[in-house]
Amino acid sequence: MAQMWITMGPQHPMTHGLWTLRVKVDGETVVDTEPELGYIHRGVEKICEARDFTQITPYCDRLCYVSAMTWAHSYIYSAENLLEVEVPERAEYVRLIATEIQRVTSHLMWLGAYSPDIGNLTIFTWCLRDREMFIDLMQELGGSRLHYNFPRVGGVKRDLPIGFAQRCRAKIALFLERLKEYEMLLDESTVFLVRTQGVGLASAEAMVNAGVTGPNLRAAGVNYDVRWAHPYSVYDELDWNPSVEKPSSSKGADCYDRYRVRMEEMVHSCEMVLEALDKIPGGAESHYSPGDEMIQSKAPLRAPAGSSGFHHYEDCRGESMFYLQGGGEGRGKHPYRVSIRSPMFITIPFVAKTMIGYKIADIPAIMGSFDPCIGETDR
């Protein structure tokens, strides 16, 4: 039968952002794919070479605009490795709380965008409604809804606001009840299961070799997570283990497993936040003024030439990483080179290949299940 190239162009509901997927189609079956990235390449790495270390954080917020907090922290940890800065204990707890709330927000945004791809439009509004609760928490912490510029080299910009703990506990309690409703509409619906189970198979070793990590890898049955493999922050002091899903076929994880992993991960993140609120040194009710040594330690502003620092970080979509080299312009105030590892920049070409053999209608199901975020892909 004649095969034809279809361009699922930059502007397409399936792409969750601006990138093109050229698909060679034989009838309904996908025969070959060709991803095309770079539409919103803003050259963040070049811009960061002309900014100080504090000025870079707002740009890192805007890398993946759905999980700004995780990306800003990913940069800050590598900057602290470069500038050799110690972070006070309370600041690490505040960072953990902020990051885990952001992970729930990001996964909710993914679920809200993924289910209309498969056809269930109701979940979109439910997810935004529940995401609104967590966005309000982040607005208290960071000052605005999506981009916070919250972490500083050596600590955080502001402590937990007054009354934050009581609101956070109330919202998480309600959200954990609401998750059961999602499962009633998705897990217990044959049509959803039929569209996601057995679709988009990817085995663990193939994914690791191709550089795919995070929830997509944990869906294939291995509980590898950068938060315990290369520990940072205070994850090792919380009673926590990563959510892992037993793959449903010998050929690896399918879309349903990836969906299950993210639902589990939301629950784990909520429990982690509750535990962190109880264990935070100085108590969750107290509030230290900005710049207080409990939440921010003094940090040098210059990095000598030849020094370098990098840090692997568990982003909501995989393992993100910043590699900084010191000694840039302004006698070391600017970094010489900032290199950003975006998990989705590596995963999207892999997923494009995973689609071969499935139907056209499976393309959004498979691509959506890997949670692409194009802001971080194109940097």
Binding site: Y59, G143, I162, G163, K171, T190, L193, R260
Partner: protein, 315 residues
């Protein structure tokens, strides 16, 4: 394998549970929870004391009388607590419904500058990642410097790294005789400014701004000059509200108010906010402004006492 116990693609899951769940959600939005589910929209203690007395005086909305829920509290417009969460923006405002989100100083809203206490140190201009802050300043001689009589000694004195000025000879006479309407040549500057390199005894080495050359000048002739701010402009079209300028300002004259609307325009020029549009309600930040002015006053008093003590010591 499905870790969810009932997640199997069988006949029962074909439509029963999804239908039931959407029906329940629909009935829940109609008002008082007909179907209970106590956890849903349960009243929660969300308003902390700090926010309560801050907004208890609000005219628009008797905030403290609301009963709040975790997903969003009731509103005066739609009294019953259980309703869809959508905020009817122009008619319900988020700062009325959730006052704890808009604690002044913790919300990155419109930029507000108290131009009076701004000392044109340009720290904010330097820290801004997007270069949105443009400030034009001018070197001026402080008239209090050479003052004699009862306000002698009020002006500040020369410092290393500060600015100094020398009167241009003949400038005053030229100024009197020049008739600005008919004169063809431009007015000449009254002073010649330079940066003070070092002050040893009664002579000072100054690097002149116009020629860049350095020479040693008698301290007596030198007047203290200062970099005064003329106008400031913030390009809101470029600003990403990161709040670094607020943290960089040492003189607490830079605030981010909690206004989030009213910053729109049709052209890019309209998005250039001049001093008038970056006003801050002094009342809101009264205590902070008073603290700053008090700090400067004490610095001034200490300087004057030191000067008086020096004068008494010489006498």
């Amino acid at each position: 394998m499905a870790t969810h116990p009932r997640a199997q693609p069988n006949f029962r899951n074909l439509f029963i549970k999804p239908f039931w769940m959407t029906l329940v959600t629909a009935l829940r939005t109609l008002g008082r929870p007909i179907f209970g589910w106590g956890y849903h929209n349960k009243s929660e203690e969300m308003l902390d004391e700090h926010s309560k007395n801050r907004v208890s005086g609000s005219v628009m909305n008797d905030v403290s009388s609301h009963d709040y829920a975790a997903d969003r509290e009731g509103s005066d417009l739609y009294p019953n607590l259980w309703k869809p969460m959508t905020l009817m923006y122009p008619y319900e405002r988020l700062e009325d419904l959730e006052p704890w989100l808009f604690v002044p100083g913790q919300y990155n809203g419109r930029i507000g500058v108290i131009w009076e206490t701004c000392t044109a140190c340009k720290l904010c201009v330097k820290i801004c990642p997007n270069d949105c802050l443009h400030m034009s300043t001018e070197l001026r001689v402080d008239i209090l410097d050479g003052a004699e009589g009862e306000n002698a000694g009020y002006g500040s004195n020369l410092e290393v790294g500060g600015w100094a000025a020398v009167e241009v000879s003949g400038a005053k006479e030229f100024q009197e005789t020049r008739n600005p309407v008919t004169s063809h040549d431009a007015p000449i500057d009254e002073f010649r400014f330079g940066e003070v390199i070092d002050l040893s005894g009664d002579t000072a080495t100054v690097r002149w701004n116009d020629t860049g050359g350095e020479d040693i000048v008698e301290r007596g002739e030198l007047l203290k000059a200062d970099d005064q701010i003329i106008s400031g402009r913030i390009d809101i079209g470029r600003c990403m509200f990161c709040g670094l300028c607020m943290e960089a300002c040492h003189f607490t004259s830079f605030f981010m108010t909690n206004e989030y609307d009213g910053m729109s325009g049709f052209t890019r020029q309209e998005l250039w906010f001049d001093a008038a549009r970056t006003r801050v309600l002094i009342g809101e930040h009264q205590e902070v402004v008073d603290a700053e002015l008090a700090k400067r006053a004490t610095k001034e008093r200490v300087k004057r006492e030191k000067k008086a003590a020096k004068v008494k010591a010489e006498a």
